[in-house]
Point group: D3
Chain length 306, copies 6
């Protein structure tokens, strides 16, 4: 079957039937109702799956062999309610409780960033407060947006309030741009988050940064949340709230690969917006990043280690 044929599951994986026998579940959350600017992330899960056709099984850089090591399946999409943020967050939370209770690790294709809150709520039930590696242009720690508590700009504020995070083990990378107050990022810092502004990433490898992250986080269950707008718009043009001056693709790869060794219990790529991704290369990038997230699963073997 040529690359562009056959069912458009993630990397043409089989459709998942039970989380019980699955190590990593690919899950789409086609939800963008909590978006503040350009919508479209609802269309991302299908588009990322389609573009994942270009992926081959082995990771040449890390020599990871995910499909030789663990069970991976595509479970399709969470049946969210596009008309209600509140109902959708509840649906997502219940869905992910099932995943985590089966010791399955979700790699999520968003959707806007509001979806991370119910995922973290579900994770807490299984793991307690988790460590977080958060790549983003924005801290997403607003108290509210336009008067609302549950939006794509507020999930990590809610997560702290609901005790979902081990705050001393949270790292936010790539923050930048303009803010609602000159001290927007101070709130994150006051919670104990390690905030790495984009300006501190320019023109350098992030391998040292990630060495520090691994040291600080240790074996604590860790969630990775990657908002595609953490990358520079040159690398990820197809997104809803682009901010110039962001990370390069190679830095994003360094971050995910640098999480190898952590006790990763879930990960997501969010905020890809296909209507603004005319070449479809942002979806293709997201597919690659999701694949890299699979490759760092603790039970994946790597030729590099043999």
């Amino acid at each position: 079957m040529p690359r562009f044929g056959g069912p458009a599951t993630f990397m043409r994986l089989p459709v998942g039937e039970s989380f019980q026998d699955t190590d990593v579940a690919i899950v789409g959350v086609p939800f963008d109702t909590a978006t503040s600017n350009r919508p479209g992330a609802r269309l991302a899960p299908r588009e990322i799956r389609d573009e994942s056709r270009l992926l081959r099984p082995y990771n040449m850089a890390t020599r990871a062999m995910p499909f030789d090591s663990i069970q991976i399946a595509d479970f399709g999409d969470v049946p969210i309610n596009t008309y209600s943020i509140e109902k959708s967050l509840k649906i997502i939370e219940n869905y992910y409780k099932q995943i985590f209770s089966n010791d399955c690790c979700p790699v999520t294709l968003g959707g806007d960033h509001s979806i991370v809150l119910p995922i973290l709520r579900a994770a807490r039930q299984r793991f307690g407060p988790v460590a977080l590696v958060h790549v983003d242009a924005h801290a997403d720690c607003n108290d509210s947006m336009f008067g609302e508590q549950f939006t794509h700009g507020t999930p990590f504020r809610r997560a702290v309030e609901q005790d979902l995070l081990d705050c001393s083990k949270v790292t936010q990378i790539g923050l930048r741009g303009t803010g609602y107050s000159p001290s927007d990022f101070d709130w994150s810092r006051s919670q104990g988050f390690h905030v790495v502004e984009a300006e501190n990433c320019w023109n350098r490898s992030l391998v040292p940064l990630m060495n520090g992250v691994r040291e600080r986080v240790g074996n604590v269950p860790t969630y990775i949340s990657l908002d595609i707008d953490g990358l520079d718009p040159s690398c990820a043009p197809g997104t809803g709230t682009p901010e110039p001056g962001g990370l390069t693709t190679s830095q994003a790869l360094e971050i995910i690969r640098g999480c190898h060794g952590l006790n990763v219990i879930g990960a997501d790529v969010v905020e890809v917006s296909p209507p603004f991704d005319l070449t479809r290369n942002t979806s293709l990038l997201a597919a690659n990043l999701a694949y890299e997230m699979v490759c760092i699963h603790p039970r994946v073997r790597s030729l590099a280690n043999d």
Copy 2:
């Protein structure tokens, strides 16, 4: 000032300050949270205004001279809440109550079609149940969509339930495509609506149809709601739920021009989605249709009548 310069109000109209002294108010409703498929209509009001730069003051076909006759101003956008359908519908209703209570006629740039319900609610308070000329691919009379009552597929069902329409004076034009039941359009008919399926419009002028509409409606206060997807996707590609086999642009012009003589108390153009309108020609079309709606205002003079 060249066409492409200066403030991007509708046709470079002055910014409206009071509905009291205004005959026709251009109003944007940048809301698309009630959309079921491709989002993006939230971006339409700004885009339609930008493309309206190509419009000159006089209507060559009808010889209408709107700006010589009445006061027209652009009042900007209704400050909807993008995260809540319920709150937004309330905000819209209150906003339009102000308009109608000042005997001002709104020409609305949507936004998705859910916004017509609060407009009709506001209209009822001033006019009682109104006649309706509704151009659309879809009847928008579903009882609910995905379990929700207030979406872009349900406004006219709600409008009937809330006694907002003079059902015997409702005309739906352009309906077509696939449905949730083979008798979807029967509900409309059972309410007394005059349903004109797209198939009955193919290859013909709609002037006779509109003659009939004017006769049937008489002097009853009339609202015009034009979903851009009533037109064929060849004419209006930039929309969220396109249906092949629709009206031509000339038929849409015949419908609006055919409303001249009715007691039009408001009108809208909805469901333009700029992310799917790469040439911006759908926004430009919508600008033209909104202009034609202005031109049929009862107090607009026409050289044709002089």
Copy 3:
């Protein structure tokens, strides 16, 4: 599940498992190696399936109820060899032999038009020479293109040579444009084909034409092959060899609906090229046309007949 979520099968149909219990099989043929101008049709099956999300089960115009009447499933794609026309045609032929031998009716999502030859070869084995309703800008009856026998411009010449067609029951609709000789269409006519040039379709309903087709064809097993470039580029911009002056979408619907009553044994929509379909509306149109082909299956019930 929202429209844009869930597995991207045609209309979210179940994945087919056996042709034996299936009345209509949706099959993709992601092949464009036989294209002469702009490539890209290889990407169409996935894109048409994705855009088919907008389709609901019932046909409002014909009141057909396909899913209440017959078994329909999506069998995914034929595993063609993108590097070899010859091998692919053989693979396709063998695949379709299986379909036809199970009395299953294929509705095919192309792919370029070369794929119709192996389908017709397979059909002949089951049905003998078939009647044909062929919608296209081009006769596709060249003897060769650039020296080659098997291309997207030659399938019907080959089909006649191989006695696959009941030539007196072949109708070609929409032919137009420029040719390699001023008598290009004469070959078709000399075989007994009924050739309806696009110029003879302008500004008129094709219902009378199709009444004639049904009369002429009678009960002979009939195949429908619809090259999307039979439609005007305004209606179907996303294709590889567009020709101005073609059929309207409503005429295409009249043709397919006008085949109701024929003994249709298979149908296809070919030559959609997603890279040239930036709004994705051509894929959406193709999805609708494929749906209409399902609706005219002889065993589909219609409320209109009840």
Copy 4:
């Protein structure tokens, strides 16, 4: 050589060397400095030539055989000065004097519509005032635009003032939209022009209209000027000042084919704007229309006449 290979001359014609031995000269005028809204027509000649690759030598509808009958060559582009309207108009006029003085018929690929004035000035020197078939959304008879005399909205006013036209033999087809005064088209009519507004073309064949044109014009030397925005934006989206409600592609073909029999001394297709023609189908349409203009050259043989 495949269609998409080889030198990108019009229809891969040889490069013209002398107007003397050439019946029809294809000439590009890559000029858009006189545009009032969206620029880009400067890029059209190269793009139309590229897309002309799809054209084959014979006209299937009219059975014209241009390349068997006359000498046709592509002379490339006029070396206009993109920074000066005044200088460019002079350059164009001198260039076309050469063409006309050699009894060669130019088929011009614009460029914006300002370029027709110097062409008509050159034509007058050879032929005296000429008859005109002018397809356009706009009369292009403004006295000035933004204070300037020489723009793409004024050429035919200047042409009348300079006695370039046989006014009783001028036909303007497709005019519509909005104007600077309700009587904009009255000026044309007061000069004796035959003005056919777009509204009078809707839903009908233009064959009768063109019969009348031929009768009225007789043997007077005739120029054809086709602004692509005369067509509806659904048919010709890639243009700078689109106006909804225009001619269909089939009507444009009827107009040009209906000029067969006239003493055509030159023709142009103007106002294609490639940056707004993302599918390139408007350029392809323009290539087809230019080809049809070649086919009606008085000395072209047609199989239909044999």
Copy 5:
């Protein structure tokens, strides 16, 4: 009001009424008649304003608080004459004289680069010859282009000739690509300009460069002119004369932020071409750069300094 609603002024600033009470004036110059390749910059001011909706008031990197410190307003566009370079340059000069004479600092949204000449002419009247920080792929110091003196490739040659620049305090950053002579940049150097070719910027921070600039320039009144094509096409694809191998976005930010401390009397962002900016991210980038130019205004307070 959601981000995408309300009037499309820069950052939804109030419309400026008097330069007298304004510290920084946002001004658009929708002019592209002096462009040599792809046009479209005329459409940039409106597009940059629209995309500026994503900007929030505070600068997270520099902690600047512009709106808490100074009066900023959007004065709309200069009413240029799109048909005449000469007249437009005069109109622009007169317009900017008004600005400078009121001690107001203009931040200009171009338009092509020709517009910097009249701005510098106006500046000279108030400040004498100014220092210049010029970011660009091209030196824009040609003696003429295609025989013309006033184009987008010549403004700084004219500026030197007219004694508008303090040549020893001019820095040109990002120059690269191909030239009309192998010593094109030598002219700049011979005037005393500090020329930093793009090759000298690759893979490094420009903070040291800017330290040097500030030292060299001191307190001399300084103008910043940023041609968006100074950035690499990966960062700024939507422009008319892209040159591969340019600055990164982070380097552009370093340059503007590195001007903090200079006596900046005006700044511009030019050469954004919306028709080539399909994602609109180049306009969004330009909006961010214009915002950064506001933030370095000498009277803007910064939390970093408190």
Copy 6:
């Protein structure tokens, strides 16, 4: 003549007539039948030529003066057979034998990467096994793809088998992404190739790498093959098999410029796919890279050397 006018040859070079008197021949190979994912490279030669209009004669960075030094001409395209890989490879080989036998250096505009095999076969006849500088995301050393030997993923495996390469003088730069086995690149290394994975290029200048290449290769005849997907998709979005994490444009320039001094006997830029290059900037980049390849021809003079 403005940049956008005149014949669309590479840099408006004259059309080549004889390889004998030509130092460097620009040749297009419009072939993409051997592509595995997104097609479209067949359209690249025309598009690269069109966009080469922006190039001026002198190289500002290297001060090379190619047109003052050697004879360069555009020979148009190789007349490949789009329907047959096998026949096309033979046609290409024969065509290039002519070039090499005339001591002419081809700079080729692809086309997909399969075309390098027949070029290398032709080169071997003249030069014996050659050194290779190969920029690519992929090693293109698969044994077969989907069962086929001659595809765009296999040319260098075939080249080794056919003894076309001096394996110890082969450098592959930019390899990355996912593979069919974790040891995909080991085959290259086992042949003696110098493999430089993309990860080893991140955040650094490649000048030292190229110093090593020149040292290792010495005076051996060298071919340069640059697959545009060697660059990061941010720099070269318009290609068929993009891989995130690639080279920057400045690194690509360092590689080509770093080949100055080698005995370069031919070079190519392949895999540009115009349908995925909506801004046309990838074609423009390819034009620049081809120009740089011309500039390093051994007989080109440079002001830097004078």
